[in-house]
Amino acid sequence: MAENIYNEVLIDHNLHPAHMHELSCATCSNDGLNPTCGDQLTLNLVIDNGIITDGSFTGVGCAISHASTDIMLDLVIGRSVEEGKHLVGLFLKMITDSITDDELDELEEAGALQSIAKMPARVKCATLGWKTLEKLLNENV
């Protein structure tokens, strides 16, 4: 029996995702796809002068992918593209490997997803938004 991964932070971001909406002024957007379940995510970003000034997402996904993406946008909006990339790197490291306590602190609320690392089948859900963000940031330098 696995531990319950649906903590309050996750449930809350899933039910009330602040960033789940269209974003007409998006300077770039990208489609992420989780082929194992058919879930799909569109990520929109506004990047202004190297700073992520706004972002949103739409699509179909599970609580983990929605909450994870919402938490991610909370974290990166207002940061520079470089900081964004750094945080994506930390998050992926947390999920697929392990990170230090200091690094965990940097991820703020996203640390609530740490236990996903123990659920290989859900790793793709948790990382869908982040990998999509990574692609976007790399493409739009």
Partner: protein, 413 residues
């Protein structure tokens, strides 16, 4: 008083045969359509084979190899009897149902299907009974056509008759859908196909463990299934084919054991069924399948079916009464034969499965290897609970208890 009868032999009785329920006393395993658990009898038979009869069979000139050959060919005989084939020449051991279906597509298909021919499948086929035909159509220029089910997951004789044309060479259909649990009227369909000169391929992956299957009674041309879904080990599957068809088909895999004479440039091939069994065969797997068949026989299909139907009904009626639960396929429990796929309003199937897992209940979520069906039904993905005769009322009740709390635990309602 059927209920009482079933309960008398229920509770822990059958679970005792399955060591996994000793290892995890609280385990509620409801993913039997994906793979079943294995009784001790099966694993012990495999062990006995490896410890007392193991050798490379078929060509051996010493006792151990003769024993291995007998073990292997007795397993074949037991499969033949189990599905009512006429001859062991019609029973080919493969790795799984998927390989069996690919064998038909590669060997029969590429030799007989031509550009412009039609291949008919249903929209609810498992990918393993769809993709080989997609590939065959691509390779040959044949056209792949689909039979679409009604809301209850059913296909009718009328519908089949209308879909068949003079060009339809082959119709591929599951006896039991792994989403709906419904039993398709294969016998009637076979008659309609044959009247049209169309071959019928029956995917029995979901039926053999749950209902008696007789190829002669069904009248199918080919039938495929996997051991691992019928209490046998992974890595062994079966292809049944009518002798007359297999006889004319070219080999599929080439190598040792499937030949008669080999020259530098050419080869002649062994008799059926060896022509289709290239390389060293999986005696251990065949022995395990044999033991599983004996085990099923011992329990008896009557018991298996009455237990599974009873448990299905128990789960189904409660699920139907929950307004936020939607069941795919028929709204009658008796059509489901141990398989109930469903969605829960507001909860993604993956999340539902994770909550069930937290309660020690194993169910599946996703597209269950049936993406075109989900698209056709307009459902992104679904959760599925699937029963075996070793499940009991406690399993179902624990499943239902969790089901009723899922939404709450996801913050809904």
């Amino acid at each position: 008083m059927l209920s009482g009868g079933v309960m008398r032999m229920s509770n822990r009785d059958f679970k005792q045969d399955f060591a996994v329920f000793d290892a995890y006393k609280e385990l509620v395993y409801l993913d039997n359509s994906a793979t079943t658990q294995k009784p001790r009898q099966v694993i012990e038979a495999i062990q006995k084979y490896y410890f007392e009869q193991n050798a490379n069979p078929l060509r051996g000139l010493y006792d151990l190899s003769v024993m291995a050959t007998e073990a292997y060919e007795n397993a074949r005989k037991s499969v033949k009897d189990f599905i009512g084939a006429e001859s062991t020449r019609e029973i080919v051991f493969t790795r799984n149902a998927t390989e069996s279906l690919n064998l038909i597509s590669y060997s029969y298909g590429r030799a007989n299907i031509k550009s412009g021919d039609e291949i008919l499948v249903t929209i609810s086929e498992h990918h393993s009974n769809l993709l080989p035909w997609q590939d065959l159509a691509r390779q040959t220029g044949a056209v792949l056509r689909f039979l679409e089910c009604d809301g209850s997951g059913a296909y009718t004789e009328e519908q089949l008759k209308q879909a068949l044309t003079s060009k339809t060479k082959l119709f591929a259909i599951a006896q039991v859908s792994n989403i709906f649990g419904r039993i398709n009227p294969i016998k009637e369909f076979a008659e309609i196909c044959h009247a049209n000169g169309t071959l019928i391929v029956c995917d029995a992956a979901q039926s053999v463990a749950h209902t008696p299957v007789n190829v002669r009674d069904l009248g199918v041309d080919f039938l495929a299934f996997s051991g691992h879904k019928m209490y046998a080990p992974m890595g062994i599957g079966v292809l049944y084919g009518r002798e007359e068809l297999l006889e004319k088909m070219p080999p599929f895999l080439y190598g040792g054991e499937m030949i008669e004479l080999v020259t530098r440039e050419n080869a002649t091939y062994a008799e059926l069924p060896h022509k289709f069994e290239a390389g060293t065969v999986n005696v251990g797997g065949a022995v395990g399948l044999h033991a599983a068949i004996e085990y099923i026989r011992k329990i008896g299909f009557e018991t298996i079916m009455s237990r599974e139907d009873e448990l299905t009904e128990r789960a189904f009626e409660k699920m139907k009464s929950l307004p936020y639960v939607h069941i795919l396929g028929s709204d009658k429990a008796k059509d489901h034969h141990g398989i109930i796929s469903f969605t829960i309003d507001g909860v993604h199937p993956h999340d539902a499965a994770a909550v069930f897992d937290a309660d020690g209940i194993d169910i599946r979520a996703g597209h269950h290897c049936a993406q075109p069906l989900h698209k056709y039904l307009g459902v992104q993905s679904s959760a599925r609970m699937s029963l075996a005769f070793y499940n009991d009322e406690t399993d179902v009740d624990r499943f239902l208890q969790t089901l009723e709390t899922v939404r709450g635990r996801m913050g809904i309602g």
